[in-house]
């Protein structure tokens, strides 16, 4: 599904050029559950931003289902994010003014769905993440784990091909973190492709594949032993 080849990203800070990705090649197949690990500054977040269409590579190829995303215009990238990608952030990024239901509806508004259809699907998704009883609550009335589950429901709103999660358990305690991981596992079992950035080994171990970064390079790419027996979908 995803093919990147010799991807480079260089940030220009004043006179200095800071390479964040120094020629990365990677393929991700549909249905995979990938953890991207590495210390901060290793380039893993930069990769996620490029995969999600929030940023463009300086050079190299990024094709998504045969489309060359690296050369998209701003509007094409916005469409790409809306149709293909679901984002889950460490800090949830829910809009405080809106209820859980309205937060989940938001991506569907940009997709042009009608109000009734939106509401029905948002309610269904909140049910799925176990928050059917809290649709009318605002983010401040929800616990961290609940907020993250609302965010996951939102990321699924437009039926993405790829769910990108950046330290999704980073702001949660162990127990609620485990619940979120369980949810990811279920989603993957249903066929959703997942890529999670983390530096938590426990989180990484849940994935079927671990890609380790250091200084803008991939230093290892291995299947986790645990995953080998449970993996579904095609590689």
């Amino acid at each position: 599904m995803i093919e990147i080849r010799d991807l480079k990203k260089v940030y220009v800070m004043g006179d200095e050029q800071v390479p964040a990705l120094a020629g990365v090649s990677l393929g991700i197949a549909r249905g995979e559950y990938v953890a991207v690990i590495g210390p901060s500054g290793s380039g893993k977040s930069t990769l996620m931003n490029i995969l999600g269409g929030l940023d463009r590579p300086t050079s190299g190829l990024y094709s998504f289902e045969g489309e060359e995303v690296g050369s998209f215009t701003d509007d094409q990238l916005a469409d790409f994010r809306r149709r293909r990608i679901g984002f889950v952030f460490q800090s949830f990024q829910l809009l405080p003014r809106l209820t859980a239901l309205q937060n989940v509806e938001l991506p569907m508004v940009y997709a042009g769905l009608g109000a009734g259809e939106r509401r029905a699907r948002a309610a269904e998704l909140l049910d799925r993440v176990g928050l059917g009883a809290r649709m009318g609550h605002r983010p401040t009335q929800l616990s961290g784990g609940q907020q993250q589950r609302v965010a996951i429901a939102r990321s699924l709103a437009n039926k993405p091909d790829l769910l990108l999660a950046d330290e999704p358990t980073g702001a949660l305690d162990t127990h609620t973190g485990e619940e979120v991981l369980k949810l990811f596992h279920e989603l993957n079992a249903d066929g959703l492709t997942l890529a999670i950035v983390t530096h938590d080994p426990d989180v990484a171990n849940e994935a079927h594949r671990r890609v380790a970064f250091r200084d803008g390079h991939i230093v290892s790419d291995e299947r986790s032993p645990k995953a080998a027996e449970s993996q579904k979908g095609g590689a």
Binding site: D79, R81, F87, Q93, Y110, G112, R154, A157
Partner: protein, 408 residues
Amino acid sequence: MKFFELVRFALGAIVAHPMRSVLTSLGVVIGVAAVVMMTSIGLGASKRVTEAISGLGSNLIIVMPNFQRGPVSQGAGGGFSLRDGDAEAIRKQVENVAAVAPIVRGQAQLASEGANWNTQIQGVTPEYLIARDLKITQGRMFDDREARQGRKVVVVGPTVVKELFGGSDPVGRRIRVRSVPFEVIGVLESKGQAGFGQDQDDVVLAPLSAVRSRIVGRRSRGDSIQTIYVKATDEDSLDRVQEDVTNLLRDQHKIRQGEDDDFQTQNMASILAASQAAIGTFTVLLAAVAGVSLVVGGVGIMNIMLVAVTERTREIGLRMAVGAKRSQILIQFALESVALSLVGGLIGLTIGVLGAFAIAKLGNWPAAVPAWAGPLALGFSVVVGVVFGAYPSWRAARLDPIEALRRE
């Protein structure tokens, strides 16, 4: 995505901070209210002046002595250069004239059985009623014969009836003008208060010759007139009649080529046009000054919109992450700015209209909010919203989603 959804987003943000939104739009409220009030004051004043001037009579030319070049040599005339003969000549020689009404005036103390009233008494001919478009409601006007004979009869206005007779029917009763008894034979129809604060009903009409001999006689020459009202048959012939009257009077007064007139003629239509033009200019000036506060209001909106963009940087980042295009972010914030301004405009329009009616009531003139005030005020509000919302919206749309999401 439907445009309506962007409107909904914009309104949602405004409703989320009701107090702030109201305070933000206050500048536009004041600006629009001021513009509406100023234009309606101007229009009201113009209407009132129009009423006052046309209340004098339509198609009217007023001929008066020119005091700047008074013929001092005429002695007892004391500057009154118009004569009975002038009025007679106009009547006989100028075409398209409906009425010629010579007038002498004198201030006099009037007394009935129980009351006193000081007012101006006008010596006129019966044609005066035609020239001034006046009507008699009770009794009758004196006729030409009575006028010629200088009979001691008067026709009075409603104010005089009220002051001297307490409102009861005065026809047939007597009033004393400077202790000379006059019989009241008629009452004029009320023309109301309009006209530079002057009471148009405070009038006493008597035959010209009677007023001349009894009231102003000692101060003027026997045949002098203060004013001649010339009424043209229709509006089109007004200018022509004015010209003819001027030429005729120059002839009558033996004024040589190059010499100034010793009289002046005023055409009511041109007086009206001139005063309306003056008021119009004044109104535009007032509205322009009021318009400055609209600009100030716009700056207030821009200020708050910049704050909002900074406050909601993460929201903007998130919207972009879930698929909002830059143009959609731009339009959302622009709509927010326009909505703030438009709400201000609507409130301002309401206040402006109410204010205009209140001022009209206080100033005792016709309330006149021009029909275009509404569309104009709202149109200006939208323009202010677009112009001053453009920069903040552009800033919002230019944000880098990654940076925006990271912002605390």
